[in-house]
Point group: C2
C-alpha cells in the first residue's frame, strides 16, 4: 500500500495533485473535444446535489426556472458595448446548418447561415430580448427567472471543472421597477451563494463587491464569493451582478409605472457553475483523494460486507440490509440519510480505498465477527484511513446523524482555520511583496489591505500576479489609505492570487 492514495501529494505538486484527485475520484476527464470535459457519474452526482439544494433556495425566494435558446444572433451580442468586448474573444460561432459528404468521404459544412450564431457564453442579451417583449407595466414586475444550462467560453488553457470551454451553470436574470429592489436582489442572491457555500459545501467564503476592473462586462457592480484553496489561491465561486439600466437601455426593456410613464427596468444576473466542484475538491481533498462534506455526498455512508463463505455472506448481507433500512429511517438536516451497500466482488482493500478516494464520509465494515459481537467497524473520511473504531450497532444507528454533523462542522472549521493561518493584515507595499514572494511550497494566502478602486492598484499588483478579489461586506469599518494610491478607503479588501 502506498503511503498516500494520491501521487503526487499536495506539497509535491499541487496542480498535478488536483488532476489526480479528479481522476482517482472518478469525477471527470478530458474529452476528445478540446477544452470540453466529460463529467462522470460520481462528479455529476455532486452537481445534482448542488443543483437540488440551490434550486430549492431559488424557489423559496420566488424564482422560477425557464429555458432560453442555446444560440444568440451576432446582432444581439453587439447591443451592449462592454459585454461584446468581454466575450468576443472566446465565442464558439455556428456558421452552417448542414453537412455534405465530400468525394473523399469526409463531411463538409454547407448551408451557410445569413447571420452567424454564437453559442451562448451567458444569456443576458437573448433573455433581455424576451423580457423586452414580456414586460409592459409595473404589474409585470419583478420578473424572477433562473435557467440551468450549458454555456461555452472558448478556453486556451482548460483545467477540469475550473476553466473549461463548456461548463454547466445556472444563471438567474431578474428585472425590477426600482434600483433599490434590484440592488436588494443582487445582495439576496450573493447571500444565498454564501450560505450555500458555508453551510452545505463547508467552504468559508468572503462576500463583497469586486473592483471595477474585475466586473462582469456590462455590469454596474459585481459581487462575488471568494474561497481560499489549499494552495492559498482564491477561487471566485459565485457572482451576483447589479446591471443597473445598462442592458435595459441597450435592449429597450421598459415598463409603464402606475401613472403610465415609461422607464427602463433595473436588472440583475447571478450564477454559479460546475467550477464549484473544483472549489469543493481544493477546499477539502487530501493526499488520499476527495473528502466530501456529508451535505453534498451522494452517499453519506457506505456499508462494506466482509465474508469468505457463502454462509457468512448471507448473514452479513442481511445484517447490512437491515442496517441500511434503519439508517435511512434517520434524518440529518431534514433529509433521510443516504446509505449504500457495496457488495461488489472486489478485493476488500481495493473497495475500501475506492470509497476513500471518492470521499464517502463514513465507511462501515461488517464481517462475521462484528455480527457475532453486534458491532460495526467505523472509519471517518475526515480522519486517517487506518483510524477505525468499533461501535455497538445500536450506538452507531443512534449516533449516525451526529457523526455526519460533526464531520460537516469539522470540515468547515478546518477550512476556516486554514484560511485564518494563511491570511494577514498588511499595511505597506514591501510587506505585500514579501507576503506573495513566499515560495510555492508555502501557500501565501489572502492579504487584507487598504486599496482604492483604481486602475493603479491593478497595475501595481499585476507583477505579483495578484488581484483584488473583493471587499468583504461584513467586515467592520477600518479606515485607512490605499497602499498604492494613497487615497482614503473605508475598509480593507482581500488581495490574492486566483484561479
Amino acid at each position: 500500500m502506498p503511503k498516500h492514495a494520491i501521487s503526487p501529494t499536495r506539497h509535491e505538486d499541487y496542480p498535478e495533485w488536483y488532476q489526480q484527485v479528479v481522476r482517482a475520484g472518478e469525477l471527470a476527464e478530458a474529452s476528445p473535444v478540446r477544452g470540453c470535459m466529460v463529467i462522470k457519474p460520481h462528479g455529476f452526482a455532486l452537481w445534482e446535489r448542488m443543483q437540488g439544494i440551490l434550486d430549492g433556495m431559488f424557489k423559496a425566494t420566488g424564482h422560477r426556472n425557464a429555458y432560453f435558446p442555446l444560440f444568440i444572433p451576432l446582432s444581439y451580442l453587439e447591443q451592449e458595448a462592454k459585454h461584446v468586448e468581454g466575450f468576443a474573444k472566446e465565442c464558439a460561432v455556428v456558421t452552417h446548418h448542414r453537412l455534405e459528404l465530400g468525394p473523399d468521404g469526409r463531411l463538409i459544412p454547407t448551408g451557410k447561415l445569413e447571420e452567424p450564431l454564437v453559442v451562448r457564453p451567458t444569456s443576458e442579451t437573448i433573455i433581455g430580448a424576451m423580457y423586452a417583449k414580456w414586460i409592459q407595466s409595473w404589474r409585470d414586475l419583478p420578473v424572477l427567472i433562473n435557467q440551468w444550462a450549458n454555456v461555452v467560453r472558448w478556453e486556451m488553457r482548460p483545467r477540469v471543472f475550473l476553466r473549461t470551454a463548456e461548463f454547466l451553470w445556472q444563471e438567474g436574470h431578474t428585472a425590477h421597477a426600482t434600483e433599490a429592489e434590484a440592488v436588494e436582489e443582487t445582495l439576496r442572491m450573493l447571500e444565498i451563494y454564501a450560505t450555500f457555500a458555508e453551510r452545505d459545501l463547508a467552504m468559508p467564503v468572503w462576500k463583497g463587491p469586486k473592483p471595477s476592473s474585475e466586473r462582469f462586462p456590462g455590469a454596474v457592480d459585481t459581487y462575488s464569493i471568494e474561497a481560499m484553496m489549499q494552495d492559498g489561491k482564491a477561487l471566485q465561486a459565485g457572482t451576483s451582478h447589479f446591471l443597473g439600466q445598462n442592458f435595459a437601455r441597450a435592449q429597450q426593456i421598459t415598463f409603464a409605472d402606475a401613472t403610465g410613464s415609461e422607464s427602463f427596468c433595473w436588472t440583475t444576473s447571478w450564477g454559479v457553475s460546475t467550477r464549484l466542484i473544483g472549489g469543493l475538491i481544493m477546499t477539502h481533498a487530501d493526499d488520499d483523494g476527495l473528502v466530501l462534506p456529508p451535505r453534498i455526498a451522494p452517499e453519506q455512508i457506505v456499508l462494506l460486507p466482509i465474508h469468505r463463505s457463502d454462509e457468512d455472506r448471507a448473514a452479513v448481507l442481511s445484517c447490512c440490509e437491515s442496517l441500511k433500512m434503519r439508517l435511512e429511517g434517520s434524518r440529518w438536516r431534514e433529509e433521510p440519510l443516504r446509505v449504500k451497500i457495496d457488495d461488489r466482488d472486489l478485493r476488500g482493500g481495493d473497495k475500501a480505498w475506492q470509497h476513500v478516494k471518492q470521499g464517502v464520509p463514513l465507511r462501515v465494515e461488517i464481517g462475521p465477527r462484528d455480527l457475532a459481537a453486534g458491532a460495526v467497524s467505523l472509519a471517518r473520511r475526515d480522519q486517517a484511513p487506518k483510524d477505525r473504531q468499533t461501535l455497538p450497532v445500536e450506538q452507531f444507528v443512534a449516533e449516525a446523524s451526529d457523526l455526519l454533523e460533526q464531520i460537516q462542522q469539522g470540515l468547515f472549521e478546518r477550512a476556516l482555520a486554514f484560511r485564518q493561518t494563511h491570511s494577514a493584515e498588511i499595511d505597506n507595499q514591501a510587506a505585500v511583496h514579501e507576503f506573495f514572494a513566499k515560495d510555492g511550497t508555502h501557500p501565501a494566502g489572502f492579504a487584507h489591505v487598504h486599496v482604492a478602486d483604481d486602475p493603479a492598484v491593478a497595475a501595481a499588483l499585476d507583477p505579483l500576479k495578484v488581484t483584488v478579489r473583493c471587499t468583504p461586506l461584513n467586515w467592520s469599518e477600518d479606515p485607512g489609505t490605499c497602499l498604492f494610491t494613497g487615497k482614503p478607503v473605508k475598509r480593507r479588501s482581500v488581495i490574492a492570487r486566483s484561479y
Copy 2:
C-alpha cells in the same frame, strides 16, 4: 366572456388551436433564433415534473447520470455510415472560436477551427468514444448511463415542442456483454416510457418495434411508444433503440470476457424529449386551453381568495393559508399535494380563467360567504368551467386526494375512449384509402392492419401521407397477409398520419 377561451377551437383549425393553447397557457414561445423556442416558467415546470419522475425511474433501474460534451468532432460523426446519413442534413456546425469587431462595428467570426465541430444532434458517437476508453473487461459491464441535455437538429418547419431546432431531452446509453442483455435493456426502457406515459401523463400508448424504414440511423431495432392526438395523428413520444454491435464496431467498444477473449459490446440508446409536452397538450387540452393530469401539474390545486374589504381579505386569506397547510399534509400517490394561493390583485374572472388556460386540475374559490358557511366552491378542470360544486371544507380536505385520482383516471379513460373511437381494424387496401380520406374535421385515427416490414409498404402508404407507426408488442397474435405485399405476417401494426 367568449364561449371558449381558445380561438380557434380544435374543430375550426387544429394546428392554430395548438399554437393558441401554448400561448394562452404561457408554456412557450418562438425565439428570435430561427427554430429555437423559449420555454416559459409554466412550460418548464411541466418539464421539471417529467424529469423528476423519469429520473427516479431511471435510477431505480440502476442508471446514473453523467454529462458529455455539446460538441462532436466531424470525424466522430463519420464513423457510422447510416448515422451520418441520418443526421448530416440537420447539423449546426461550429467553424470559428472567436469574434472580432469589423470596421463597421459588426462582429466577424475569426479563429477558424482546424476541424469543425457539430452541435450534438444525439450523442452516440461522443459517448461511444468514451465507453471505448472506459470498458476493458466484463467486470466493467453493464455501463448504464443517462444524460439530460439539449440537442440541436436544424428544422426548416419548426413547431413549438413538437419539432424545434433545439430541444431538451434525456438520452440513455448503455453497453452490455451479451445481445440478450442489451435487448432486455431496450425493452425495459420502452416499458418505463409506456408506464410513465400512461400512469403519469394519462396518455395511452402503443408500444412496439418500428419498421426498418423508420429506424434510428445506425440501430438494429427501434421501438417506440405511439400516442393518438386529438386530430387522430400519431405522436412518437419516446424511442428505445437496440444498436446491436454497430456502434461498438465503428468505435471499437470492446471487452475481454472471463476467458480473456475480446468481443464487441452490445449497446442501446433511448430517449424522450420536450416533445412530450406537445403530446400532453394534444392529448388533453380542450377549447378552453390546457388540461393537466394531476401527476404532472406543477400545482394541483389553486386557492382563489375572494374579498372586497380589507377585513374580509384578512379572514379569507387566513382561511386559505390554513386550508393550504392541511391539504399539503395529505398525500396522493406518495407525494404531498401541491397547492398554491393566488392572491394577486387581478379581476377574479381573469384570474380564474388564467388557471383554466394553464390547466390547473382543481380551482377552489373562498369568499366571506363560504367562510361563514364553512364551505368552499370547487371547480374541476376536467369539467365545464361553469360547473361548480359547493362542499363543506372538511369534506373537501378529506376527499381532495380522491378527486385528484378521479381526474387522473378520468383523463386517461377519456383519451383511451377517443383512441378506441378513432381506431379500426382494416383488411383491404380500399378501406385503408377510405379510412384516411376522411375530411379534416373528422380525424381519421389509427388503422390496425397487416403489413410486412417491406419498402413496398412505405411506398404504398406514402401517397396517403401515412406511415407504419409500430407493431404493438402486447397485441395477441392474429396472423394475416400484408395488404400491400401479400407476405404472411403474425400480428397487426398501427398505421397513421403522424407528427
